[in-house]
């Protein structure tokens, strides 16, 4: 039996329904067509499926869609505004912080969550925090550099956007 899933994703309201066993990540991708959120391991190990639910970073493969009923969700599609990349995305591009790009949506969301809480993280903090996400390609160095650059870009960006 399907149950209602009324939620807001990237500021847009949806009134949908889902079978209880549908994972949030599959709901976002298949029901709402938001395929930016990737499915990697599906058992909570890789972080590719990371999204924000009510302001907290979560792995959307470890949550049921019905649990997001009434919640505010932000996915990687919610970062860019009016066709302009978010400063964190710009920093990832500028630092070549991706190769195949499979892990990138998860890293962008994890970096976003980190920089919201800790606007000026040390390298140690970045490495500790992002240890939740796996990347098979880059060796992480460029990702760490990108997050450092994103922190300074965001400082500027916040002055004009808030």
């Amino acid at each position: 039996m399907k149950l209602p899933v009324n939620l807001s994703v990237n500021g847009q309201a949806y009134e949908e329904e889902a079978e209880p066993r549908t994972l949030l990540v599959h709901f976002l991708r298949e029901r709402l067509g938001l395929t930016g959120t990737h499915v990697g391991c599906v058992v909570g190990e890789c972080g590719a499926c990371s999204v924000m639910v009510d302001g907290a970073l979560v792995k959307s493969c470890l949550m049921l869609a019905v649990q997001a009923h009434g919640c505010e969700v932000t996915t990687v599609e919610g970062l860019a505004q009016r066709g302009k990349l978010h400063p964190i995305q710009e920093a990832f591009v500028h630092n070549f912080a991706m190769q195949c790009g499979f892990c990138t949506p998860g890293f962008l969301m994890a970096s976003h969550a980190l920089l919201e809480r800790t606007p000026n993280p040390t390298e140690e903090q970045i490495r500790q925090d992002l240890s939740s996400n796996l990347c098979m390609c880059t060796g992480y160095v460029q990702i760490v550099e990108a997050v450092k650059e994103a922190a300074s870009r965001l400082g500027e960006w916040r002055k004009t956007h808030t």
Binding site: P20, L57, C61, V66, Q67, D129, S132
Partner: protein, 297 residues
């Protein structure tokens, strides 16, 4: 990978949970943070036919001070414990455990109640909280009962929870000053379960002797245990390098690890002695008012 189909309930009160458990018995499971249960359901290690999501029960949330105790609702998330000013100030051992459990995303969802109920032999809350005076409050059809954590977990992945019972609260005594604690966890890779972990909570007398001491061991047996012989050796004495070496040997002897992909029995025993000494040093430093950051090893 989908879980097997189930019927989903999201009750608003503990009484409704108990009613649902009574109605559906062994076929029902409680869903808290879902960070252990959902992976198990996807791997079909667990296939409950009825899933009772307790996340909408407001009375199970939050943490607060009640007299000389810290009281956490069963739904208190790992991250919430780590952020609490009271925890950081009075129970640094718990702040250590909170920040070393899993990763950011799992800490935002996973709950203290779920960790204790799951009773993973390598779980961080079961091991860390055993070094403190911790009790678990259980709701059942005859009302509430409270048991010490040392009696709550009875074996690997096994607690004394009955089929129509759930954890509602976890309560921890706030230690009297001058005291300090530390939880040191050795992980093979960041965010993984412990290869071995040790919690130490000490209260110091004027002359630096241990007025009270508790040493808990995690991932060093089927369930977390206290290193009683090492505690007895240190009680009432001021630690010297010789005494700590001897205590470390007792900790190693009391550890009962099993060999798995994280290491051999000898390796884990060896680690137990070393991280015990690190945890003890950090606990004593904190008892003396020195700031010690969580050790990530």
């Amino acid at each position: 990978m989908y879980p097997a189909a189930f019927e989903y309930f999201a009750p608003g009160t503990v009484d409704e949970v108990l009613e649902l458990l009574a109605r559906h018995g062994e076929d029902a499971k409680i869903l808290a943070g879902g960070q252990s249960l959902i992976p198990m359901m996807k791997l079909r290690i667990a296939s409950p036919r009825f899933l009772i999501d307790v996340n909408r029960i407001a009375s199970l949330t939050g943490l607060r001070q009640e007299g000389d105790r810290l009281v956490m609702g069963a739904l208190c998330r790992h991250a919430e414990v780590g952020r609490s000013g009271l925890v950081r100030l009075r129970l640094p051992l718990m702040a250590d455990a909170a920040s070393q459990t899993a990763d950011v995303q799992v800490r935002n969802r996973g709950t203290v109640g779920g960790s204790l109920a799951h009773a993973d032999p390598a779980g961080d809350w079961p091991a860390a909280l055993l070094a403190l005076d911790t009790t678990v409050t259980i709701a059942g059809r005859d009302g509430l009962r409270t048991v010490p954590l040392s009696e709550f977990i009875v074996d690997a992945y096994t607690t004394q929870l009955g089929p129509i019972e759930m954890v509602t609260e976890i309560s921890v005594q706030l230690p009297k000053a001058p005291s300090g604690g530390a939880y040191v966890k050795f992980e093979k890779r960041a965010g993984d379960f412990a290869v071995a972990s040790v919690g130490v909570q000490v209260e110091l007398a004027e002359g630096g002797q241990c007025r009270s001491i508790a040493i808990s061991l995690g991932a060093l047996g089927a369930m977390p245990t206290r290193a009683r012989a090492a505690e007895a050796l240190l009680l009432g004495r001021a630690a010297s390098p010789e005494l700590l070496t001897e205590a470390g040997q007792l900790v190693q002897a009391e550890a009962q690890p099993f060999a798995d992909t994280r290491g051999s029995v000898e390796y884990k025993r060896h680690l137990a002695g070393i991280i015990f000494r690190r945890a003890f040093a950090a606990a004593v430093d904190r008892a003396l008012g020195r700031e010690v950051e969580t050790l990530h090893v």
